[in-house]
Symmetry: C2
Subunit: 217 residues, 2 copies
C-alpha cells in the first residue's frame, strides 16, 4: 500500500476508535492492529498518539476552511441555517475531539495554539457574515457591536458543546437532537432579525438542510 | 480522627486532586497518601474511586438544592443575576466534574441517572422562576412557551460549559472570565425583558454580585 494511503487509513481507523472509545484508552498498537499493519509501519507515519491527534485536528481545520471559504459572500438566512447544521455535523464526525477537548488541549500546547488560531479567525468571519446580514436588511441595526460579539460567542459555545450536552442527558444523538440544536441556535438569533429576516428564516425552515444520515451514538 | 471527619477530609482532598489533575489520573492510593491515612482506612469509607465521585456529586446536589430552595419566591432581575453567578461559582468549585463530564457519565449509569434527575428538576424550577418574572412584569408576554423552553436550555448549556470554553481559549478563569459569562447569559435574556425588566437589570448590574474571590486556574 502506498505511503499516502497508509497514512489516510491510520487516520480513518484512529478516528473511528477514538469516537467509539476515548482517545486516552486507545493505544497506537491497537490502531496498528485494527489497520492490519505493523507497529513499525504506524510509527513510521506517526511517532506518537499525540501526532495522530494533531493530524486529525489538521483534517478538521482543512474541512472548516474549505467550508467557510465563501460564507461571507452568502449573507442569507438559508445560509446561516446551513452553517449551523454544517458545524454540528463536523463536530459529530470528530466527536472524540469535542468530548475530550479540555484534557486534549491541556496536554498539548501546539494543539491549543492551533485550536485558538482557528477560533479567532472563525469568530472574525462570523462577524463579517453578520455584518453582511445587516447590510442585506435581515439583521436589525439597533444592537451594539458589543452585543453582536456576545451573540457570536454564545452561538459558538453552544455549537461546540451542544452534542456534549445531548450526550450528558442520555439522549441519542439523532436527527431530533440536531434539529433541537438548530432550533436553539435560531432562537438565540431570532431577536436580532428584522421582519424581512424573520420571513426569510421561516422559508429557510422548510428547506431540507439535514442531508447526511445520522448514525446513532 | 472520627469517621465522619475522615470522610469529609477524603472528599476535600480528592476534590483538590481531581481539580488539579484529571480524576482518571488520580488513584485512591494517592488520595490516601495526601490525606495521610492508610489505604485500608480510605477503602473502609470508599470502596472505589467511583464511590468518591458519586459522593462528590451528592455534595454538588446538596449545594444546588440548598441554593435553589427559595429561588422561585424571588422573581427579580437581581436574583436572576445572582443565580447565574452562583451556578458559575459552583461549577468552578467542582470543575473536574464539568471538565470530564462526558467520560464520567459514560462510565457510571448511576451518576448519569442522578445528574439527569437534578437537571430535569432544575429546568422545571427555572421555568417556574421565569413565569414569576412574567407575572412581575419583568419578562415580556409575547414569547411562546416553546421559546421560553429553548431559552432555558440555551442558558443551561451555556452555564454548564462556559468555564470549559474559557479553558479551551487558554484564558485564565478569573473575575473577567466570570463577568463575561454573566454578560453573555444576560445578553441572551435581554430580548425577553420588558422596559421595566431592562431598568431593573441595569440597577442589578451595579450590585456587587461576585462575593467570592477567584483563585486562578
Amino acid at each position: 500500500m502506498p505511503s499516502r494511503e497508509t497514512q489516510a487509513l491510520i487516520l480513518k481507523v484512529a478516528l473511528e476508535l477514538f469516537n467509539e472509545h476515548r482517545s486516552a484508552s486507545v493505544s497506537t498498537n491497537r490502531i496498528a492492529e485494527a489497520c492490519e499493519i505493523s507497529k513499525g509501519n504506524l510509527n513510521y507515519h506517526f511517532r506518537t498518539k499525540q501526532d495522530i491527534i494533531l493530524a486529525l485536528f489538521a483534517d478538521i481545520t482543512v474541512e472548516m476552511n474549505r467550508a467557510w471559504y465563501e460564507d461571507h459572500r452568502n449573507p442569507t438566512m438559508e445560509h446561516m441555517a446551513f452553517m449551523f447544521v454544517r458545524q454540528l455535523r463536523l463536530i459529530w464526525r470528530y466527536r472524540f475531539f469535542y468530548r475530550e477537548i479540555i484534557p486534549l488541549l491541556r496536554e498539548s500546547k501546539l494543539l491549543r495554539r492551533r485550536f485558538n488560531e482557528v477560533r479567532v479567525r472563525r469568530v472574525a468571519e462570523v462577524k463579517r457574515f453578520m455584518k453582511g446580514l445587516i447590510a442585506a436588511g435581515l439583521f436589525r441595526t439597533d444592537y451594539t457591536d458589543e452585543q453582536l460579539d456576545l451573540l457570536i460567542t454564545s452561538t459558538w459555545v453552544l455549537s461546540d458543546h451542544w452534542l456534549n450536552h445531548i450526550e450528558t442527558t442520555g439522549q441519542d444523538v439523532d436527527e431530533a437532537a440536531f434539529r433541537l440544536g438548530y432550533d436553539i441556535l435560531v432562537n438565540m438569533v431570532t431577536p436580532y432579525l428584522t421582519p424581512t429576516g424573520l420571513q426569510a428564516l421561516k422559508r429557510g425552515d422548510e428547506l431540507t438542510f439535514l442531508p447526511e444520515p445520522i448514525a446513532p451514538a
